[in-house]
């Protein structure tokens, strides 16, 4: 296996799928001549030409809708949002058109397409450019929401998302783009709706996705020094959720902490902890704890920004309290 970056892994997935299926095209701001604002589409214009790798004006609602229409007409668009912050402008096309088209037309039309781009908190870009939206999309029937936490998952999940016949919200993480990891070469598919146990443990379950998976793994190392053996579960697909893997882990550890970068109210952690309560109540020896971003817009100053986001120490503390260890 080769060691490559998270962004290169995404690039490989797109290139492989475009070689395999000529209905697939990539469209977005700066994806072609600039090679991607975050260089995810590096070299793709040269490889596939301007017919299939298309720079758009700054017009999110317009090109999101173009993607919806092209998908309805039988193509397989990959629509890149430079970041998910800008996708709010396109929300009508995602929520009112793509997500509902199959249902509203009784199956006559569907929207097999991927909306992808960077989500979550970036570094020092303040409140409008640093936020998590997975819970918005995860609320909506008709959408799938996928969030890779490492390079191999990035490749396997994006390839699966492009092949999927539904609309997939694929949320990458800007901070993770440069992360390096071992990634299988050639075709590599990770089925959607399958969680992954990133670390096996017996004392407590840490459920974390995207960038927070790395934080949870770091917290698990700290916890090990305290004699707490944590299991880390990464759902990878947020909707639909592989809760069986989470519940099986909780059945073994009897304790859980759910971690997310986004806001606490009606967040992903709220849903996951509710499911553990509904389906795993008898397995619990302590209430499920949540570690989330603080309920404030993201500030700019480095110390304030740090303070607004979950930290490894926050996860360690929540796990320690949940395990009732001093």
């Amino acid at each position: 296996m080769a060691k490559i970056t998270y962004r290169e892994a995404l690039n490989q997935a797109m290139c492989n799928e475009m070689e395999r299926d000529d209905r697939v095209f990539l469209m977005g701001e700066e994806v072609a001549e600039y090679n991607g604002a975050y260089k995810v589409s590096q070299g793709m214009l040269d490889k596939f030409g301007p017919k299939r790798v298309i720079d758009t004006p700054i017009t999110e609602l317009g090109f999101a809708g173009l993607g919806v229409g092209a998908a309805m007409a039988g193509l397989r668009p990959i629509i890149e949002f430079m970041t998910w912050n800008f996708a709010i402008l396109a929300a009508d096309q995602i929520v009112n058109a793509a997500a509902k088209m199959k249902y509203m037309t009784a199956g006559q039309y569907n929207c097999p397409m991927v909306f992808r781009g960077a989500g979550g908190a970036a570094a020092r870009v303040s409140s409008q450019h640093s936020q998590a939206f997975e819970n918005w999309y995860a609320n909506i029937p008709g959408l799938k929401v996928v969030m890779p936490s490492n390079p191999a998952d990035a490749k396997g999940l994006l390839a699966a998302s492009i092949r999927d016949n539904d609309t997939v919200i694929f949320i990458e993480n800007e901070i993770n783009y440069g992360d390096i990891g071992e990634v299988p070469e050639g075709e590599y598919i990770i089925p959607l709706g399958k969680a992954d146990i990133k670390r096996v443990g017996k004392d407590i379950t840490l459920v974390a996705h995207s960038r927070m998976t790395g934080y949870a793994l770091a917290a698990a190392e700290e916890l090990a020094k305290m004699g707490i053996d944590a299991e880390v579960v990464d759902p990878r697909t947020i909707r639909p959720l592989d809760e069986a893997t989470i519940l099986a882990s909780v059945a073994k550890t009897n304790r859980a902490v759910v971690i997310e970068e986004g806001w606490r109210f009606a967040g992903i952690g709220a849903e996951i902890s509710a499911r553990i309560m509904e389906k795993g109540f008898d397995d619990l020896d302590a209430p499920v704890a949540r570690v989330t971003g603080k309920d404030v817009p993201m500030p700019y100053a480095a110390n304030l920004e740090n303070h607004a986001l979950p930290s490894v120490a926050d996860i360690v503390e929540a796990a320690r309290v949940t395990c009732n260890r001093a």
Partner: protein, 351 residues
């Protein structure tokens, strides 16, 4: 207009150098009249509370529906807003299925999932029936993109109203369509009122065909109460798009006789204004007059035709009403294509 039978050709009439056979004129007239009577029936069924929710009728705008359909190929794509009954019927969708949809019946065009605002027929290349004002415009652009991508020369006929044309997405679409020379005809059905707001209260530039100027999208204005002019000008616009010259705007000057929706008594318009359009410019009466003058039909024949159509529409409504409501099991159908059985929310169940 030269409303007279030509000697050399079969019976018909010629307008602006374009010949229409008597058979074709009868078909166009019949379709307009059918849509008129269908909409009246829909209004009546709504009054009886058999149709629920929002219901937007197109009485008065029939020439736009029929003329455009006459000018296009069946392989061309068409999509519009929620004022969609007339368009989908003109496209050739079974009226019983349209009425059944209005009534929330199993045999509705989308099985009772959409209602008045969401009529779709993939077989007829009719992509809605879109309920959010202006939403269909970038979608129409996407169909045009797909056509160019495949090189199959299909034109996307993307319809909006004089209200929809103020949405930002429309200008985003004009820009990309012109930039990439996409085969799309942007049709603006200018019925003068966006719900209760008159054009002059909503638009600084009321000549809507000029709205593409800063995007280099040419525009033409058409008398949308004259089905032959709609057919002719729309044919030219479609040819423009199909031949690779890029997008074009067609502003259809028209008028809706009814309110915006069934709950709108339309008190924002004067009776004189409505009468001026209704009695002075009605598209059906106009074509009838032309056909009578050209010796292609008589007043009595039209009266009989109207009677027959009314009867047909009554039968359609009866057949639609006789259909069962959708089976409760379809509630869970058609949410995803690739369901994932072992992940939550689980397909077809609560919890």
């Amino acid at each position: 207009m030269t409303g007279k039978k030509t000697q050399e050709q079969a019976a018909g009439l010629t307008q602006e150098g374009r010949f229409y056979s008597a058979e074709r004129l009868h078909a166009m007239h019949g379709m307009m009249l059918y849509i008129r009577r269908f909409e009246e029936k829909a209004g009546q069924m709504y009054g009886l509370k058999k149709i629920g929710g929002f219901c937007h009728l197109c009485n008065g705008q029939e020439a736009v529906c029929v003329g455009m359909e006459e000018a296009s190929e069946s392989t061309d794509y068409m999509m519009t807003s929620y004022r969609d009954h007339g368009h989908i019927i003109a496209r050739g969708t079974e009226p019983t299925a349209v009425m059944a949809e209005l009534l929330g019946r199993a045999g509705g065009v989308v099985g009772g999932k959409g209602g008045s605002m969401h009529m779709f027929d993939v077989e007829k290349n009719f992509a809605g029936g879109n309920g959010i004002v202006g939403e269909q415009v970038p979608i129409g652009l996407g169909f045009a993109f797909a056509s160019q991508y495949r090189g199959d020369k299909r034109v996307s006929i993307t319809i909006m109203g004089d209200g929809g044309v103020n949405q930002g997405a429309v200008y985003e679409s004009f820009n990309m369509a012109a930039l990439w020379k996409l085969p799309v005809v942007f049709v603006i059905e200018n019925n003068q009122y966006a719900m209760g707001t008159s054009l002059s209260r909503a638009s600084a530039e009321t000549h809507l065909y000029k709205r593409g100027i800063s995007f280099k999208v040419p525009g033409i204005q058409v008398d949308g109460m004259d089905v032959l002019e709609v057919e002719r000008k729309m044919g030219e616009a479609i040819e423009h798009a199909r031949s690779g010259q890029g997008p074009i705007i067609v502003e259809m000057m028209t008028y809706r006789y009814r309110g915006h929706s069934m709950s709108d008594p339309a008190t924002y318009r004067t009776r004189d204004e409505v009468d001026e359009w209704r009695t002075g410019r009605d598209p059906i009466a106009r074509l009838q007059k032309q056909m009578i003058e050209a010796g292609l039909a008589t007043e009595a024949e039209f009266k009989q035709k109207d009677k027959d159509i009314k009867k047909e529409v009554v039968a359609v409504a009866k057949a639609a009403e006789a259909q069962p409501e959708p089976d409760l099991s379809v509630l869970w159908d058609d949410i995803l294509t690739d369901e994932i059985p072992n992940a939550y929310p689980y397909p077809r169940q609560v919890g």
